[in-house]
Symmetry: C2
Subunit: 507 residues, 2 copies
């Protein structure tokens, strides 16, 4: 079943074989790329590779997306073969490229048949590698779900052509290519008697969910590294064939460990910068300071401070909430170091607990336990106007409220339901939901929420603005009309008494 | 005595009075700005204000720099009155502006006479406010040297014209203008019976030692805030009169606490970003990764990652080594919060200990205690090709080496001596010093060190490259010639065995 509720029957092995015979026929005589894993990254990468053209205007590759014939994954294969992107995205080009590849140029298809790897000149690895638990208390508790990756690599080793390039795009603990993946590939190839030089490289993507999804693959920087010279050369030639490397020249690093570390470091840096500002958020709120305005005033310093993060509700997504854990796991398990990524890991913990600060503000406004309080939470995804709910901080927030017995309803401008918490009431009508709530929490700055006016509030409520959704003029008007407000990073609201009942509320 | 060893006699009170009578005569009928404190910031700010011109081309202000008639400070007054910048700077414009103001347009002078404040339309406060100890173990240990600032403010309150604007530029704990400075000014003014509205504002500078010293005041962003509307308005008009606010529009914040916090936050962010990368430095060195190259590959992401810091030797200067301590002091003492700036303070500690990592690398290369080892440390300042030694990390490094009994000599391309450690032998001749050392430590990437070639090493030595002074080609040549090398953030050197004796050193 796909996230939008549509079901597809997983086909029988015979049906898969029959389908694959057709793929094999179409792929004959062509350069074949197999993309392993049709998730957020793999499906988009497959679309971009299928769109690559030779100087003569012909499709450069025949692209086969491979995923598992399981109830949890098969829908992605079915979706692609219907000519649709498996992931809902505000970037229309994603869906268009898939449709074009499947239906027009007919050089893109998907299958679960393992024999696909036998056809590949290049296998691109985009399978998931997740941690068991993102909310670990200590470095020693970090655990990875490695078996899926290992099984995926083993299939490749068993099936791959001896001279094919294996390009790992999955975010892995650094050292994984050389210490985890290479041994598995070698073992499977040796078992088959393959003696040719193995081509193995790592090149990480920087896919951004949102309106520039496809562009974030094709027109963006890429870093890569091979386990040796020939591998690096093969990776460079392949990346060159579908990325705009004229505008974004490729960067080669010394070895895959460096490339793997770069990806994790990049995301850890972002996570650390967010955690840093959270400490100052709490400070600003107690000293009357509008931290949003302060950060704005500092971000004018381009090149040194323009990436300073704003206060906020929390951090979501697949990467920023876990990549630092991969780094520590590497240090401990792959390199047997007793080095602790102290500040880096603390940052992850701070970010994980960040939504609980919005809960604390709500408690403060309510002045009593939240039991029975009707709370409307506006925003379930983790990015404004993007329908991506993976590890959304709203999960942590809502779970905490439910635990206290609050009556929570959620709304999200870009969603019809909340896949991760289907049991939580999901409001279809924002106005009605607002009229039935004691407290409204703005978690995500979706455009719809930012456009709300004081007139859209049919009654005085408690408002927690966790993401600068309500500007000062609106806040003043809401307060004058009897609402009480607190905002994350908005010390000036408390200084102005917006958290107290207005002395003379308008009728 | 000035830092370059030239002595000036502190004049008698009578001589000061006589000199001031002359200043008073010249200032008569003019708009007067008094800059309090002629240190790194005040002297440059005075130069820039003196260079301001009216639309008619006349000097906008008569500028009086005021400092103390003490053995530690009087030389600054004497220097300025001779027509020279008190601070050595690679920015020739600094010296030129002082000379022009003092000798040509004759609207700039310096004095220790407190009566100067009686003449001022605007008093700019640029006195120092330092912590007692930067290397504190816990937040509770943070202490400020507040008496100097308080005395300075008290003099202003006692002498100022009732309608003068007091503009604080000193980096202060947030809340200081409203909770420390305002009460002192009020007290002194009330004692005099002054009842006029007090004009008080905060506007922080972003002076950068180096070749763009003057430009970093005149052509750069400024943030300000007043204690009330009239104060903010007066501050804006004044800043507008000498800063290029057309290219760099002023930013007003809600109150001085916000402006004071912005300054400290800005520097704390920088310090935190440096500390963050240090954790990864240790990781890279043990996993064969060249972190310099990795950071380069990540910094291509403009607007999010282009300010990522490189590995290095440590952090120096007046601000980044202390400003976070001011923030914690504020929270604890001015706002009575029990909030701990946890990650922010840890970052300062990490940065403070960072030079000891270079010491650890040296220990590793030496394979024995450092007692008796002849170590040449190249680089005493904290910025490349800038003669600024304030809180240089070389202090921490050299102190640690001396404690172990190493025979340390220092060299610095931009200095003739080391004011903070006059007892440490200072080499005038780099080549000779290198020929007499067992180990050479490159602490600062001065151009002279970066231009060294393997031929400049007359003998095989141990090399610690703490700041990417030696590129890989040179490192390979040095290693082949029998030297052994380790570099901060340069795991690939260890992977290549540069820390071991070359199997076949060239003769």
């Amino acid at each position: 079943m796909a996230p939008d509720g549509v079901s597809f029957a997983v086909p029988s092995p015979e049906a898969i074989d029959a389908q694959f015979a057709e793929i094999e026929r179409r792929a004959a005589g062509r350069k074949v790329v197999v993309v392993q894993g049709l998730g957020f990254v793999g499906s988009a990468v497959a679309a971009v590779i299928a769109a690559a053209r030779t100087p003569a205007g012909e499709p450069t590759y025949f692209v086969i997306g491979v995923d598992l014939a399981t109830p949890g994954s098969y829908w992605k294969i079915a979706r692609v073969n219907e000519g649709h992107a498996p992931i809902a995205s505000p970037d229309a080009e994603f869906d268009r490229l898939i449709a074009e590849g499947v239906q027009e140029s007919r050089n893109l298809c998907a299958t679960s048949a393992e024999r696909a790897y036998e056809l590949a000149d290049v296998v691109v690895v985009d399978v998931q590698l997740d941690v068991v638990d993102r909310a670990v208390e200590s470095a020693a508790d970090i655990q990875l779900r490695l078996s899926g990756l290992e099984a995926a690599i083993r299939v490749i080793g068993r099936r791959m052509r001896p001279d094919a390039l294996v390009l790992v795009e999955t975010t892995v603990p650094f050292g994984a290519c050389e210490r985890l993946i290479l041994p598995v590939l070698r073992e499977e190839r040796e078992r088959r008697g393959v003696t040719e030089l193995l081509l193995l490289a790592h090149a990480y993507e920087r896919v951004m969910p949102g309106p520039r999804y496809i562009s974030s693959i094709r027109k963006f920087w890429r870093t890569y590294a091979g386990i040796d010279g020939p591998s690096a050369q093969a990776a460079r030639a392949f990346l060159d064939s579908f990325i705009d490397t004229e505008s974004f020249p490729l960067r080669e690093l010394g070895d895959p460990t460096a490339s793997e570390m770069a990806k994790i470091l990049e995301n850890s840096y972002r996570a650390a910068n967010i955690a840093f500002i959270h400490e100052w958020t709490l400070l600003a709120e107690r000293t009357g300071v509008n931290l949003w305005e302060v950060v704005d005033s500092i971000r004018v310093r381009q090149g040194t401070h323009d990436n300073m993060r704003y206060p906020g509700f929390g951090v979501g997504g697949y990467c920023l909430t876990k990549d630092s854990l991969l780094a520590q796991w590497s240090a401990t398990h792959l390199f047997k170091m007793d080095h602790l990524l102290d500040v880096t890991l603390q940052a992850l913990g701070i970010n994980h607990r960040m939504p609980l600060h919005a809960r604390d503000l709500l408690r403060e406004l309510a002045g009593q336990p939240l039991k029975g309080l009707r709370v409307l939470v506006c925003g379930v995804s983790y990015l404004p106007d993007v329908a991506d709910t993976r590890n959304s901080p709203t999960e942590i927030f809502v779970d905490a409220l439910l635990e206290e017995g609050a009556a929570v309803t959620v709304h999200d401008s870009s969603l019809q339901f909340w896949p991760e918490r289907p049991q939580v009431p999901f409001a279809a009508d924002l106005a009605q939901a607002m009229s039935e709530a004691d407290a409204v929490v703005f978690a995500v700055p979706h455009g719809e929420y930012r456009r709300l006016t004081p007139a859209d509030f049919s009654r005085a409520v408690m408002v927690i603005d966790a993401n600068n959704v309500i500007d000062d003029a609106k806040a003043g008007a809401l307060h004058a009309a009897g609402s009480r407000l607190l905002g994350v990073g908005k010390g000036h609201w408390r200084k102005r008494g917006y958290d107290q009942l207005s002395a003379c509320p308008k009728s």
